[in-house]
């Protein structure tokens, strides 16, 4: 009774139907009943856009059908020659999910997508780091002026809750610093090098074969990806107005098995640690982590220790990447808009 009368239909568009975009469609398909019974939300995907085309249905698209686009079992269309920007502006929906690729130098195409959606009065949820790392304050100001939500939990730490953990659960605390492993590729490489005594190039190749590192791994291993995530934390948690150029960055490419062995002898592991503090420190560089420290997590895991004035140290560990994991953070952001 009350359930039905409180039911809210949430129409979403997904811009960029790659791993994460499709992951979200899959998650919405799996969680449809829970979304209704637990949150009173009837979430419908009414439009998706990719470089290859567009699908729209104001009643809601069938997720299982959409997922066929990823396997090639279904071909893309482009009704009436509609462009991505026309979809963003003209379709009837409440939330735009932006999951195109991250470009930290231009922020595009995400920056234009997000700006256009906010200007058309749509809430925005994104996993795309570029726009937030480059134009955080302009975008949050625009969202506030439009009375729209702008949510981006998936940009930092994937499934690992960090931004909403600090904003909601640690409300009232002063955050002194955040320190952690924000890149699963680097963590995998350093963990394997330490465990097996293998050189960097060898482990990188292995990581690429397993899909833990991209064909061009430079953004990960040179520390840029960590820097970009730090910037999002710096701006959203510490109110800075930083861009990735403000981060002092040293990557992991120079780390040798010898160095890892020396660290091991002294009771440490080496990890690429991102660090942001309220004094304005912004650094991404290899550090020695005591083996018994909570930041010593292996494999592709991400971890962050938040130092606060009331709660002390809080450490979260979780999967930093993966389409379903990223979609988990996106779904939580969507639900939070209607809480």
């Amino acid at each position: 009774m009350s359930m039905r009368s409180n039911m809210k239909t949430v129409r979403i568009s997904i811009i960029g139907f790659g791993y994460v975009g499709a992951g979200l469609a899959e998650v919405i398909r799996r969680k449809r009943a829970d979304l209704v019974s637990t949150y009173g939300l009837d979430v419908r995907i009414v439009g998706i856009a990719d470089l290859n085309g567009i699908f729209i249905d104001e009643q809601g698209l069938d997720e299982a059908e959409l997922l066929k686009l990823r396997t090639g079992a279904k071909d893309w269309e482009r009704p009436g020659g509609m462009t991505t920007l026309e979809l963003i502006k003209e379709l009837d929906y409440e939330v735009m999910v932006e999951t195109t690729h991250t470009d930290v130098t231009s922020g595009q195409p995400g920056l234009t997508h997000i700006t256009t959606a906010l200007e058309s009065g749509r809430h925005v949820v994104t996993s795309n780091k570029g726009p937030l790392a480059l134009e955080y304050s302009r975008l949050t100001d625009l969202a506030a002026a439009q009375g729209c939500a702008l949510k981006y939990e998936a940009t930092v730490g994937g499934a690992m809750p960090l931004i909403s953990l600090i904003r909601d659960n640690l409300a009232g605390n002063g955050v002194l610093s955040i320190q952690g492993i924000l890149n699963g590729t680097c963590n995998y490489i350093l963990t394997r090098m330490a465990e097996e005594g293998l050189p960097y190039e060898h482990v990188l190749k292995e990581a690429q074969e397993l899909g833990y590192a991209e064909a061009d791994p430079s953004s990960d291993v040179k520390g840029l990806d960590t820097a970009v995530k730090l910037v999002i934390l710096a701006n959203s948690v510490f109110g800075m107005n930083a861009t990735y150029r403000d981060v002092e960055v040293t990557g992991i490419t120079a780390i040798t098995p010898d160095a890892l062995k020396l660290a091991d002898d002294a009771g440490y592991v080496i990890k690429l640690i991102g660090e942001v503090s309220r004094e304005g420190c912004l650094k991404a560089r290899p550090r020695l982590v005591p083996k018994d420290d909570p930041l010593n997590v292996g494999g592709t895991l991400n971890v962050a220790t938040i130092k606060t004035d009331l709660a002390g140290d809080i450490t979260v560990i979780g999967k930093g990447a993966g389409p379903i994991e990223a979609a988990s953070a996106i779904l939580a952001d969507i639900i939070s808009i209607y809480r």
Binding site: T256, L262, L288, P290
Partner: protein
């Protein structure tokens, strides 16, 4: 040898300078001075902690000189290097004169390189070293790391410090 001294000064201006003069007169080096203006002993004096580098045989004379100047010497003892830190270095460490890098820390008087292990694949390849630095206090330890980072940067050596 490093000697720490707890002394107490009269609460009138110029006393700290008065207390430090005999240290240099007796050939000693002042390593650190902790002077807490806002703290007072029950007798209204100001406690100061000094660490000086001094020949042990000259300590007695220094204490006498201080006492003659109205400085109360409450305690003297050998200062130990209490705080330690392991730091890794990666790069052309041997070519870039490791000795000089270590000296830059030993010269401070408040910190020393107490252990070093080097791993060198071959002379021309990059090598790694783990360096243990000890210092008389936490602040001094951080200062020593700062000095090391400065020297290493000039030489293109990567420093990996503990979190």
């Amino acid at each position: 040898m490093k000697i720490s001294m707890d002394i107490e000064l009269k609460d009138i201006p110029g006393q700290l300078v008065r207390a430090l003069q005999p240290v240099s007169d007796s050939g000693g080096n002042i390593v650190s001075v902790v002077h807490q203006h806002d703290k007072k002993t029950p007798s209204g004096r100001i406690p100061v902690q000094l660490v000086v580098e001094l020949d042990e045989q000259r300590l007695e004379r220094l204490v006498r000189a201080l006492t003659e100047r109205g400085v109360r010497v409450v305690r003297t003892g050998e200062e130990r290097l209490k705080e330690s830190m392991v730091v890794l270095l990666i790069g052309h460490i041997v070519h870039s004169d490791l000795r000089e890098t270590i000296d830059s820390i030993d010269r401070t008087g408040f910190a020393e390189v107490v252990a070093l292990s080097l791993s060198m694949p071959s002379v021309d390849e990059e090598s790694s070293a783990s360096v243990t630095i000890s210092a008389i206090g936490d602040q001094e330890l951080r200062e020593a790391l700062h000095i090391l980072e400065g020297t290493a940067k000039e030489k293109g050596i990567m420093v990996i410090a503990p979190i």
